[in-house]
Amino acid sequence: MSKQFVSINGLCARIDDGEAHKEILRGVDLEIPAGEVHAIMGPNGSGKSTLSYVLAGREDYEVTGGTATFKGQDLLALEPEERAALGLFLAFQTPVELPGVNNANFLRTAVNAVRRARGMDELDAVAFLKAVRKETKHLSMSDEMLKRNVNVGFSGGEKKRNEVLQMRMLQPSFAILDETDSGLDIDALRIVAEGVNSLRSPDFSALVITHHQRLLDYIVPDRIHVMAKGRIIHSGGPELARQLEAQGYAQFLSEAA
C-alpha cells in the first residue's frame, strides 16, 4: 500500500450561488498516510465542511482545479457510491432524515451494497442482526433505535451515534468525521471517540473536523491542520490543539495574510 493513502493537491472548488460562483476551496494540500488520524480545525466558513463534501462527491460543488487520490485512485472521477465502496465514509455534521425508511433496513441495504461492490458475500438477516447488535451494545444504543426511521425524531446525540454505528458497520478505510462532537454531552463524546479509536489500525485513516480541542483529548490525532479561507495555513502535532484553544486562530490568520 502506498504511503500516501489520501493525497490532496491544490484542490479548488466552488458552489453556484445563484448567478455568481463562490470560491470555497482555494488550493488545499493535504497528505494522510495509512493508519494516521488527522484533524482539521479552523474558523467558521473556512471550508472545512466543503472539503468533506467534495471528497465524498456531493454534486452541488464544482471542482475547478487540483487532484484528490485515495488508495491511488482518482477520487474525483468516482460516483459517491463508488467512493463509499472504495472505503470512504463521511459522518455528516447534520445527518439526514429519511421518513418511513426503517433504520435497520437502511443499514442492511447499505452494508450489502458495499459488500457486493467489494466482492464480499451479502449478510443475511440473521448475520446482520448479530453484527449490528454487537455494535449497538458498544455504542450504548438501544435496539429500539434500529426500529425507528432513519434519523427521524432522533436527538442530536442519537443522530451522531447512529453515524458512528453506520461507520462501524460499513468498515471504511478512510473516515471523515465532520463535527461529530457538536451537540454531544461528555459521556456520548467518550462513547463516540471510543467507536473511532477502536477502528484505528495500519489500514484505517481518519480526518476529524472539529471546532473544539475537547474531542481531540479523546481521539488523539497524529497531525493537526489549521484551515482558513479555503487553504491549510498551518500544520503541527497534537500539541497544536491546546495552543489553538488557548490563543485562538488569530496568529495563524495574520501569518497567512
Partner: protein
C-alpha cells in the same frame, strides 16, 4: 444547479424501459362488431344467456347513457373517445372444459406463465381437475378474468364448504339470480355517472362474491384482470356482498399487454357490508401507461363504491396505482350503519405523460361513523397527478369523524401534483381533519444514501417506499412485496 439537472436526466431515461408485462396472447376470439347500439346489448345479453330482467336493466342503462355527457371536471386531458369505434364484446371461444393441461390452449398457459401464476394454479385456472388435497395448499383463490370472460375459478370447493360463493358474475346470474337481482346496481345505480351507465349497458363479466352470515372467508380472494383483444373495451362488473358478522379480503391485480391504441376501461365495483361485516378490497394496478412520449396506454375510468349498510360494518379500500395513461377513479364509502368505518389508502404513481385524477368519497350518513383517508401521490417526468376527495357529513351523522392526509412527492421539475379536497359538514358535532404536504426527494437525502453505498436508483426506491409505507402496510403480505417491486419498476431510471 447540477443536482437538479441530474434528476431531470434520470427522469428522462425513465420511459425508456420496456413495459415488463407487454405481451399479447393470440387465441381464437369471438368478437362482436364495433359500435354500440341496442342490438349490441341484445347480442351480449343473449351470448350470456341472460334473463329478461337483466336485459331490461342493461337497456335502461343504455338509454340513460345516451342522455348523459362525458364528465369534464377531472384534471385529465385526452382526445375525444369515439364510443362507436370500440368492440363491446370479445370472448375466448368456448370449448367444453378441458380434462388436463394438454387440452388447454397453450397460448393461454403462456400468458399465465408470464404473469407468474404457479403451474398448479394455472391448471386450476384453466379448469383442469386436480387430485384431492392439492387444491387446499395455496392460500389464495384466483378467479382469472381473461379479457371479458372468466375462464375458470379455483378453490371453489374449499369456499363452497365455508358457504362462500366466488364465481364469475355471469355464472352468478344463472346460479344465484335472486342475489344478483337484489344487489346489482344497488350501490352504483345505472344512472350514477357516464361510465357507470356505459358499464351497466355492456358489462361482459367480472367477479361475484357472497359471504353468508358469520363466515370469515377462509382465504384471500384474488382476481387477475387482463386486457387483451385489440381495441376491446373492458367493462368489468364486480359485486361483493358480505352478510352480518362476516368478512372477506379481496385482492385485485391488473396487468395488460403493450399496444399502441388507447384502450378504454370502465369497470364498476359494488361492495355491500351488512351489520358487523368487514370488506377489505386491495388493488395493484399496473396497466400499460403508454410510452415515454405519451403514446398509447389504458384509459381507466372506474367507479368503485362500497355501502356500509349495517351497524359497525367496515369497508377498507387500498390501492396502488402505477399504470394507465389516464386514471379516473374514486373508491368511495357510504357510511350508513351506525358506527360504521370507511378507509381509503392510496398510492398513485405517475411518470412520463401519465395523468391521474383519483381519490375517494366518504359519505357519512349514520351516527358515530368514522373514516380515514391516507393518499400518497408520486409524480415524475411530465406527469400530472391530482388527489380529489369528498368528505360529506350528513345532518344525522352526529359524532362522526374523518381524518384525511394527502402527501405528494415530486421527482424532477416538470411534473405536477394537486390536492382538491371537498369538505361538506352539515352536523355541528362531526369533526373533519385534513392534512396535506408536498415535498421533493431532496438532494440531501440522495447524497446521504449514496455516501452509504446505495446506487441512486436504490436510494429513490428506498425513499419512495418509505414515503408510501403507511399505505403499503395495509396491503396483504403477498401484495405488499409485489407493490414495492412495482413502485421501483415504475420509477426505474427516474434518477441515475
Amino acid at each position: 444547479m447540477p443536482a437538479v439537472a441530474e434528476t431531470r436526466k434520470t427522469v428522462e431515461t425513465l420511459g425508456q424501459n420496456t413495459y415488463k408485462w407487454g405481451f399479447e396472447t393470440d387465441i381464437e376470439m369471438d368478437i362482436a362488431p364495433k359500435g354500440l347500439n341496442e342490438d349490441t346489448i341484445r347480442l351480449i345479453s343473449s351470448r350470456k344467456n341472460e334473463p329478461q330482467w337483466l336485459l331490461e336493466w342493461r337497456l335502461k342503462a343504455y338509454r340513460s347513457w345516451l342522455e348523459m355527457r362525458e364528465p369534464t371536471w377531472a384534471k385529465v386531458h385526452y382526445p375525444p373517445i369515439d364510443y362507436q369505434d370500440v368492440h363491446y364484446y370479445a370472448a375466448p371461444r368456448k370449448k367444453p372444459g378441458p380434462k388436463s393441461l394438454e387440452e388447454v390452449d397453450p397460448e393461454l398457459l403462456r400468458t399465465y406463465e408470464k404473469l407468474g401464476i404457479p403451474l398448479h394454479e394455472q391448471a386450476m385456472l384453466a379448469g383442469v381437475e386436480l387430485p384431492e388435497g392439492e387444491e387446499a395448499r395455496p392460500p389464495v383463490a384466483v378467479d382469472a378474468v381473461f379479457d371479458s370472460v372468466s375462464v375458470a375459478t379455483t378453490f371453489r370447493k374449499t369456499l363452497q364448504e365455508a358457504g362462500v360463493i366466488f364465481c364469475p358474475i355471469s355464472e352468478a346470474v344463472q346460479e344465484h339470480p335472486e342475489l344478483v337481482r337484489k344487489y346489482l346496481g344497488s350501490v352504483v345505480p345505472v344512472t350514477d355517472n357516464f361510465y357507470a351507465a356505459l358499464n351497466a349497458a355492456v358489462f361482459t363479466d367480472g367477479s361475484f362474491v357472497f359471504v353468508p352470515k358469520g363466515v370469515r372467508c377462509p382465504m384471500e380472494l384474488s382476481t387477475y384482470f387482463r386486457i387483451n383483444a385489440r381495441n376491446t373495451g373492458q367493462f368489468e362488473r364486480t359485486l361483493i356482498i358480505v352478510e352480518d358478522g362476516a368478512s372477506v379480503s379481496y385482492l385485485e391485480g391488473c396487468t395488460a399487454p403493450m399496444r399502441d391504441e388507447n384502450q378504454l376501461h370502465a369497470a364498476v365495483v359494488e361492495l355491500v357490508a351488512m351489520e358487523d361485516a368487514s370488506i377489505k378490497y386491495s388493488t395493484v394496478q399496473n396497466w400499460y401507461p403508454g410510452d415515454e412520449n405519451g403514446k398509447g396506454g389504458i384509459y381507466n375510468f372506474v367507479t368503485k363504491r362500497g355501502a356500509c349498510r349495517g351497524a359497525r360494518s367496515k369497508i377498507s379500500w387500498t390501492q396502488v396505482e402505477t399504470g394507465s395513461a389516464i386514471t379516473w377513479k374514486y373508491p368511495s364509502c357510504i357510511l350508513q350503519g351506525e358506527g360504521s368505518v370507511g378507509e381509503f389508502y392510496s398510492v398513485a404513481v405517475t411518470n412520463n405523460h401519465q395523468q391521474a385524477d383519483t381519490g375517494t368519497k366518504m359519505i357519512h350518513i349514520g351516527r358515530n361513523t368514522r373514516s380515514t383517508i391516507i393518499a400518497k401521490t408520486i409524480s415524475a417526468g411530465q406527469s400530472d397527478s391530482t388527489y380529489r376527495g369528498l368528505v360529506r357529513m350528513m345532518p344525522k351523522a352526529a359524532g362522526s369523524r374523518n381524518f384525511t392526509q394527502c402527501d405528494s412527492l415530486l421527482i424532477g421539475d416538470r411534473c405536477g401534483a394537486h390536492t382538491v379536497p371537498y369538505i361538506e359538514n352539515r352536523n355541528m358535532s362531526a369533526r373533519v381533519e385534513h392534512e396535506a404536504t408536498t415535498s421533493k426527494i431532496s438532494e440531501d437525502q440522495l447524497f446521504y444514501c449514496r455516501q452509504r453505498g446505495l446506487s441512486e436508483e436504490d436510494a429513490v426506491g428506498l425513499i419512495v417506499n418509505g414515503f408510501c409505507k403507511d399505505v403499503l402496510k395495509e396491503l396483504p403480505m403477498e401484495f405488499a412485496v409485489e407493490a414495492q417491486k412495482l413502485l421501483q419498476i415504475s420509477l426505474e431510471g427516474s434518477v441515475g
